[in-house]
């Protein structure tokens, strides 16, 4: 599952980054708290494929589909 697929008000830990992210983009994501192992919350899904809001640590960021799809999440443990 990618970050873009994460339903609203649900969170999951980052497993890895997709191959389309370049070094600079990955570095920026890590700087703002989107690191492997970190738990990210999908705060708001917006209509019409607009950027969505995700909470990382103590801040909320807006990410576009092209970048959120490159953030791969841990599969949820079965209930």
């Amino acid at each position: 599952m990618t970050l873009w697929d994460l339903p609203e008000n649900q969170s999951a830990a980052i497993r890895s980054f997709g191959p389309s992210l370049n070094d600079r983009q990955r570095k920026r994501l890590e700087d703002i708290g989107f690191r492997i192992g970190e738990t990210i919350l999908c705060f708001k899904r917006t209509p019409f494929q607009s950027p969505r809001l995700y909470r990382s640590e103590e801040s909320v960021f807006s990410l576009t589909r092209e970048i959120a799809e490159q953030i791969l999440l841990e599969a949820k443990a079965p209930a």
């Binding site: 983009q25 494929q49 640590e57 909320v60 576009t64």
Partner: protein, 608 residues
Amino acid sequence: MKKVLLVGLPNSGKSLLFNRLTGLKHRVANFPGVTVEVSSGKILDHPNLELVDFPGIYSLNPVTRDEEVALLQLEHALQEADTEALICVIDSTRLSRSLFLALQLLRLCQERSKNLIILANMSDELEANNTPLAAEKLQEFLGVPFLPISARTGAGLAELKTSLGNLLKHGPASPPRKEFPSEKEKLQNLAKKLAEDYGPKSDVLLKSQNRIDRVVLSSFWGGLLFLFSMLVLFQSIFTWAKPIMDLIDGGISTLANQIVHYLPPGIAVDFLQDAFFGGIGAFLVFIPQIFILTLLIGFLEDSGYLARVAVICHRPLGYFGLSGKSFVAMLSGFACAIPGIMATRTIESPRRRLLTMMAIPLLTCSARLPVYGLLIAALIPAKTFLGGLLGLQGLVFFALYLLGIFASLLVAGFLSKTLLRKKEDAPFILEMPPYRFPHWKTLFRNALNRSWLFVSNAGWMIFTVTLVVWILGYFPHGSGHLESSWLAYLGHAIEPVVRPLGLDWKYGVAILSSFLAREVFVGTLGTLFGIEKASDHLETLSTRLQHSGLSLSAGLALLVFYAIALQCFSTLAVMKRETGSWKIPVQVFIAYGLLAYLFAWIVFQISS
């Protein structure tokens, strides 16, 4: 002179602190990336200390070209012997990421044997939410001064000045050699742990922000709020500013008539009446519009709403090759294209940045306001609706703003699909700043500064052009003989160019003189009609325009011409600086000039 460097995350309140400490008035706003250049000033109470403000950085690992430049400048400054200390401004409400940068800077200062002071800004917000920060514990752990402050309220600044005083008295002493991990990941984990152990509760801080965001970013209420805020913004420029403009206009006329009444007739009186009051006075009338526009944009920016607008607009702007961040730069462009073009530095994608830069000059900047205001007042009846809340003149103004917006989007869309199709791109990441109630004093000061800057920058140019136009129009036969003046001779030579737009030579001269700066148009026309009429009583310029026989279709053509043409040398110079060559500004100048003439001609032909 000894130096202290000011570094921190974007939108951590560095510039507000810089203004507080130096007494200077640099632009501040609640949006990441407002400071785009290194600036410096002397610290009040410590005139031997120079404070150097750097653009915000997320870490010491640059991602964008501008971050690379800022870090390079920081590195140079740290190597200078007269650099006494580095102040790291951290945002207490975003402690984990702020501490990561602080730890990186602490290691850097240890390597360069420089002092470090950490200022935990936004302490007032922590107090308001009753979620404190253990500053003493953090100071003990980090081994450097750690002071909670509020650049907004001024809390903690006295202690900071004492620390700086001690620094001056005792000289530099490198920070204690406490060992911190060198690996980025370990440093990030340490910052996170420190924030969890000693920082405020982020859930508490984000609670109200999240509640507002659910409404502001919802598809229905969010869209409605956006349309409403834009309508208020553009209506206010005309409707709300009108009483103040009338007051200034009346004041200038009274003053002019009084002065003229007591002076003997002659060349001095003619100059005062025609060029000074008629030309420069006509331009000064439009200052309230510029003030109100800047004030309202500042309000939107400081409240944190603009970042949400960037999210709302990202997708629609994407169809034209632009980004949500383009909207913020473009909104600044409504006040003046220069800060708008500089604000494009927050756009990571070089392609979208260039497209935004080329789109901004088509937006209705404040220099277009005097031109639009004059022509609308002269041509459009002052009818009102809804009990005076909406006015026809205001609606025409709004339509011109829409024209500017559509023109800029179409040009950006066209270029993104043709000439700039293959240029490098980068994705959109934007932090949502907290909602804050804007500080009225700061807002008013920013708006006053911007208005004064507008007057002082354009003032000398308008005065010079007005003087030249007056001399050419006054001689050899004096006031009342404009048709036989030197200017008429020159004007008739360029008349064939403006005749297809339904304009006579006087408008041709006014257009030509305004290629340096478009607001010169008003001053030139004011002077020309002043000489022509040679009246003892100063009429408003719009009244003179009405009596000059300017037809509605020619007036509309003129409005369209000014909506598209790039008549601002300063904008071209900034564009050259940002793109690194004259190639793009020159191409844009020629292309927009030709488009302006073509569309003005089409409008004249259709409407007449």
